[in-house]
């Protein structure tokens, strides 16, 4: 983290013989629009004929060697800020099942299409100890990566974690992607919670995110000003969601 993107290559898989080509055109145009927003040049790309649509970008950028933000580097007492709400994976599962209404689809699409560049730019003027983005491993999986091998423990204030409200309903109905269950099985030994911890909330904390937010570590003193600046920059969902407690057990404690 901490770099500025400069060039990009498209990677696309598409059932070109079975599906309307116009849709492919729209996907690529959407990608270009986001690249413009990120002031990044599209150089070319690779395409594959495939039954399931896949689209992504391979991006190259620059970063000063002293300004690279790794996912490790947290210190005891640091606060953690999450900049986008969780629940994208669960809602996408409900969308696949045809259960999400148009308004929810619109909200989650806008959320996924929102770049992290505003959050990243605000973060530049603060002393950040560690940073990663929340994607396939879910919040708890990425928190686990941040402390893996360090001995540090994190306390998560579950009530403060931003969540897309509809995700709670769909998770309660069983629309939880396989990835969330897999994330939990892989990391549950590191995660501690009280016996009365809501299993639905727990699934949301493990929910794999598409284009999730940044997870930023900074000193407790900087946390409120950073959250405030993020809100001012339009990154409204940003919340302080927990802090590093000690360097003994290497656990994530859900409260």
């Amino acid at each position: 983290m901490g770099g500025i993107p400069k060039t990009a290559m498209n990677i696309v898989a598409y059932p070109i013989m079975k599906m309307d080509r116009e849709i492919l055109g729209e996907i690529l145009a959407g990608g270009v629009e986001k690249l413009k927003e990120a002031r990044t040049v599209l150089l070319g790309g690779h395409s594959v004929e495939d039954d399931e649509i896949k689209y992504g970008l391979s991006v190259t950028g620059f970063v000063h060697p002293n300004k690279i933000l790794a996912n490790q580097g947290l210190r005891v007492g640091d606060s953690l800020i999450l900049t986008k709400p969780l629940g994208v994976g669960i809602i996408n599962t409900a969308v696949k099942g045809g259960l999400a209404n148009a308004q929810t689809v619109k909200e989650v699409t806008e959320l996924m299409a929102t770049l992290n560049q505003d959050a990243a730019s605000v973060m530049q003027s603060f002393s950040v100890s560690a940073c990663t983005d929340v994607t396939g491993f879910g919040l708890l999986g990425h928190l686990a990566e941040m402390i893996s091998g360090s001995g540090l423990s994190i306390s998560v204030d579950s009530a403060a974690v931003p969540i897309i409200p509809e995700a709670v309903e769909f998770a309660a109905m069983g629309f939880v992607p396989a990835g969330a269950h897999n994330n939990r099985k892989y990391r549950q030994d590191m995660v501690e919670s009280g016996g009365d911890f809501d299993p639905i909330l727990r699934d949301i904390l493990y929910d794999p995110q598409t284009s999730g937010g940044l997870l930023i570590g900074c000193s407790e003193k900087d946390a409120l000003p950073l959250q405030q600046r993020l809100h001012e920059a339009g990154v409204h969902h940003s919340r302080i969601i927990g802090h590093v407690t000690d360097k003994i057990k290497e656990k994530i404690v859900l409260g």
Binding site: A172, M173, G174, F175, A178, A180, K185
Partner: protein, 205 residues
């Protein structure tokens, strides 16, 4: 009649949709479902529980699971046609739905939070006839059980026509299903519907 479904070879959310479709169309008393992965097992179990089925899971060979769902005998849903609440709300200006999502009010001090919640629930009848439903979720369900400090008040409200409901999943989670002493049990779909129908929703917890 036992309805048999084979959800093997399907990935999320297809197994849940298969079961949902079956329940929506046929509303069977008992279901027998085969799934071939852990995620489907957990998701289908959650869906059936949500729909008031008691689920028994038996692991089979090759990572498959057999799920048996039997409709719980004691589904308690407010009968909207006959309940005194419907006439009660018909005359009211608006329907207020109160979601109690914890046994404490606010954050900070737990003891204080418990006192505040008790006080809130003892005072809530000041809303008068506009108070339509009280739905208890998460640790809030503790307030509808025999150990609740506001049990008497809630029972009085219920007699006066307020619909009182506890989330079934939550009661099961805290193993309090047998301890509930006031109101009915509800599920997420009914809660979603209730939140849609209410004129005003108040969340405390």
């Amino acid at each position: 009649m036992i309805k048999e479904l084979d959800a093997r070879g399907l990935t999320c959310p297809a197994p849940v949709l298969l079961v949902k479709d079956c329940i929506d169309k046929e509303d069977p008393e008992e279901l027998s479902i085969l799934v071939d992965n852990d995620s489907s097992n957990e998701n289908v179990t959650r869906f059936l529980t949500n729909k008031n089925y008691a689920v028994k899971t038996t692991p089979r060979e090759n990572g498959e699971f057999h799920l048996q769902g039997i409709r719980s005998g004691h589904i308690e849903q407010p009968d909207k046609a006959t309940s005194p609440a419907s006439s009660h709300t018909a005359e009211s200006a608006q329907k207020i739905l109160v979601l109690v999502t914890s046994d404490r009010m606010g954050r900070g001090d737990n003891e204080l939070g418990e006192k505040l919640m008790i006080s809130y629930l003892k005072t809530i009848n000041e809303m008068g006839s506009e108070l339509w439903q009280l739905i208890f979720l998460n640790s809030g369900v503790k307030l509808t059980t025999n150990a609740s400090p506001v049990l008497k008040e809630l029972q009085t409200y219920e007699k006066d026509g307020v619909i009182i409901l506890s989330c079934g999943t939550c009661l099961e989670h805290f193993e309090l299903t047998a301890a509930k002493e006031v109101g009915g049990t509800t599920n997420m779909l009914d809660i979603v519907t209730a939140t849609q129908l209410a004129d005003k929703i108040v969340q405390v917890g």
